[in-house]
Amino acid sequence: MARTVLICDDALFMRTMLADILKGAGFEVVGEAQTGAEAVKQYKLLQPDLVTMDIVMPDMGGIDAVRAIVKEHPQARILMCSAMGQQALVIEAIQAGARDFVVKPFQPSRVLEAVQRVLG
């Protein structure tokens, strides 16, 4: 059975790119969210194996979304997607419970390595 992933990013471009990379690795994209609030809602509904989470999103940022998800689902496996220069935010996200991170611009191999670690 394909492993499931929920992709959270406010940019369609980034969602498409991530979906492409993850589908190529055999994932089934079961949901996409454009805001933190939506991510939390969808996680509850879908309980995916993996979540990719952008940091800066409207209506609850990625870090708060991680907090909200991990609070109810401590086993959630969340991979942060950060832009360059968001060092402090990435650290905050990890403290909040994110399992690993990748830095944009994405290199597919790096994304998949991080995914392996998150699921490993």
Binding site: M84, I94, V103, R117
Partner: protein, 598 residues
């Protein structure tokens, strides 16, 4: 006490702080003036403190005045307008000159004694002692290219989880100053192998070694080292060069040794020598790496000054400052970068009026970025200006007698080749900023001398991008040794894709067919003007980007590790060499630059 002992440290520290000061002064007009003022203030304050400690009173006084002005700005009593920033920047320049003078001449208040504790040693990270009960120490070094190393270190600590064997780490906290090297203290209950596996599983780990805690080595008080126990040592760069040169020669000697008749019983030692040399080479390269930041941080000032002098509004975006390069390469690209940036401001970015009329954002934008790309580093300089006009460039070149075709260059490659011809200033008139003297030809030859490549893409009305590809290290390179007319030449393997045999008498049309592709044949005998005996029997296929050429040689001798010594082009010399080397058998050879022939 003898203050001269601290001069090296002083030089390094003031250098850093002057750069910080200049950068934050430039930032003052940008978005975050509050942080920038605070940073500039801190830099001036540090400069004052350490200069006073060295007895350089004049410098300290100047820094103090700067600090005062910055304090006024910080308190909102002074307005940081462009004029004031100019004045502060010149003050910073004067301060830099004064520091140089003070270092040369010595303290202005001779005989001043200082307490060594007063000399700040911010760069010296003291080795924190292992906690009681430490049986093993895991030394972890992150991949130098890993992003956000502090976050990765946190993940490493987390991967060890609640393992009771973990007693602590050094550093204990990870922040922006974390350099990618950490030690984790473990008790006797730890399984070293299991710990290493867990650490690796956290990702981005270059090396892990779990071993018994070391005893802190005693450091002698010989001038260069800092007082106390330091884990990091600042070393004069020329010493590193000396080491690298020595190591390079050792590698060459080793290559020669391998070709000699090795008596049984010694061969094991020769093998071991090779292994150790490999390790040393690896360490040496790591030692010589410095982040491009050291050069990039000068650039905002360059752009600002250039933009002000020609009345342009330009924003500079810098990316990839953490990418590392061999120091000697970095030292050499500063000038070309500055030239390209000035050019971009002077000739690329349009006036605000022209930009608005063309439907572009009022503010011009230049982006400088560095990126690691397998064995090389790519540096891009992109502007969103008007682009290079091929027609105008052709006109200029015609006027200078450098171009005789009616049509302007049809491709970016041709245009760039034309732009980089010696004697052709890229300005229509000599610009106020980019000025006379350094032309694109110098930029190109500098990059090539480093074994790198540079190209250009330009779009009329949209902008121009220069792309430099640089080797990460210089010292030792793999090369193909060839013979042409009885002379030896080395061709760096970086640009070689394959070597083929040539049929005698064939390929007279100057084209070689390689696996169905037509590749222009460059006859080295003719190009290098050698006429010794022998005939062309083989060709080396060189490839740069999408351009290829077959270099016809007499003989392929083999692959060798060479130590390239670059030299400044000798007047009258053929422009096809990037350096010279000593081959494994001790014969000198010129290093060919395939880029110059494609």
């Amino acid at each position: 006490m003898d203050l001269r002992r601290f001069v090296d440290l002083y030089v390094a520290e003031t250098h850093e702080n002057i750069r910080l000061l200049q950068r934050s002064l430039v930032d003052l007009q940008a978005d975050a003036p509050e942080g920038a003022v605070a940073e500039a203030f801190r830099a001036a304050h540090t400069l004052k403190g350490i200069s006073a400690a060295m007895g350089y009173q004049t410098v300290a006084d100047m820094a103090h005045r700067l600090e005062d002005s910055l304090d006024e700005i910080r308190a909102g009593r002074l307005d940081a307008d462009a004029g004031l920033i100019d004045a502060l920047l010149s003050a910073a320049d004067e301060l830099e000159d004064e520091i140089a003078a003070a270092i040369r001449i010595g303290p202005s208040a001779p005989g001043l004694e200082i307490d060594p504790g007063a000399v700040p040693a911010r760069t010296t990270v003291s080795l924190s002692p292992a906690p009681a009960g430490t049986t093993f120490v895991a030394h972890v070094l992150l991949d130098p290219a890993a992003p956000i190393k502090s976050a990765r270190a946190m993940l490493i600590m987390r991967s060890l989880g609640e393992m009771p064997a973990v007693l602590g780490s050094d550093p204990a906290q990870f922040d922006d100053s974390f350099d990618g090297s950490l030690r984790i203290f473990l008790s006797a209950s730890a399984d070293p192998a299991a710990v290493a596996v867990l650490i690796r599983s956290a990702g981005d780990v270059e090396t892990v070694s779990v071993r018994a805690p070391e005893t802190v080595p005693e450091r002698g008080g010989d001038g260069g080292t800092q007082p106390g126990q330091g884990r990091q040592v600042r070393v004069d760069a020329t010493r590193l060069d000396g080491l690298a040169d020595g190591l390079g020669e050792l590698s060459v000697l080793y290559a020669r040794l391998q070709k000699a008749d090795i008596p049984a019983g010694v061969d094991g030692m020769v093998d071991r020598l090779g292994t150790v040399l490999g390790e040393l080479d690896h360490e040496m390269r790591a030692l010589r790496m410095v982040p491009v930041r050291e050069v990039f941080e000068r650039l905002p000032r360059v752009v600002r000054d250039a933009a002000r002098s020609v009345g342009r509004d330009v924003e500079l975006v810098i990316e990839g400052e953490d990418v590392e390069l061999d120091r000697s390469i970095l030292d050499d690209i500063g000038e070309p970068l500055v030239h390209l940036l000035r050019n971009a401001v002077d000739h690329g970015i349009e006036s605000t009026g022209d930009r608005l009329a063309a439907g572009k954002p009022a503010r011009g934008r230049i982006r400088v970025s560095a990126e690691r790309e397998r064995g090389s580093v790519r540096i891009m300089i992109e502007d969103d200006g008007r682009g290079v006009s091929a027609a105008r460039m052709a006109e200029k070149a015609r006027a200078a007698g450098l171009y005789d075709r009616a049509a302007p260059p049809g491709t970016d490659e041709e245009l760039f080749r034309l732009m980089s011809m010696p004697g052709l200033s890229t300005a229509e008139e000599v610009g106020a900023v980019s000025g006379r003297g350094v032309g694109m030809d110098v930029v190109v030859s500098r990059v090539r001398a480093l074994g790198g490549a540079i190209d250009m893409r330009t779009k009329s009305g949209l902008g121009t991008t220069f792309r430099m590809r640089l080797p990460i290290t210089l010292a030792v390179a793999q090369a193909l040794r060839v013979r042409v007319g009885g002379e030896d030449y080395a061709i760096p393997l970086t640009h070689v894709t394959e070597a083929v045999e040539l049929d005698a008498g064939a390929n007279t049309d100057g084209v070689l067919r390689v696996r169905g592709h037509r590749v222009p044949l460059v006859r080295l005998r003719r190009v290098l003007r050698v006429s010794g005996e022998g005939s062309e029997e083989a060709a080396v296929i060189a490839e740069i980007g999408d351009r290829r050429a077959a270099l016809a040689v007499d003989e392929l001798v083999g692959r060798e590790q060479i130590l390239v010594r670059t030299f400044d082009a000798v007047t009258g010399m053929l422009p096809f060499f990037s350096g010279a080397t000593l081959l494994a058998d001790g014969r000198p050879a010129l290093v060919l630059d395939p880029l110059s022939m494609i």
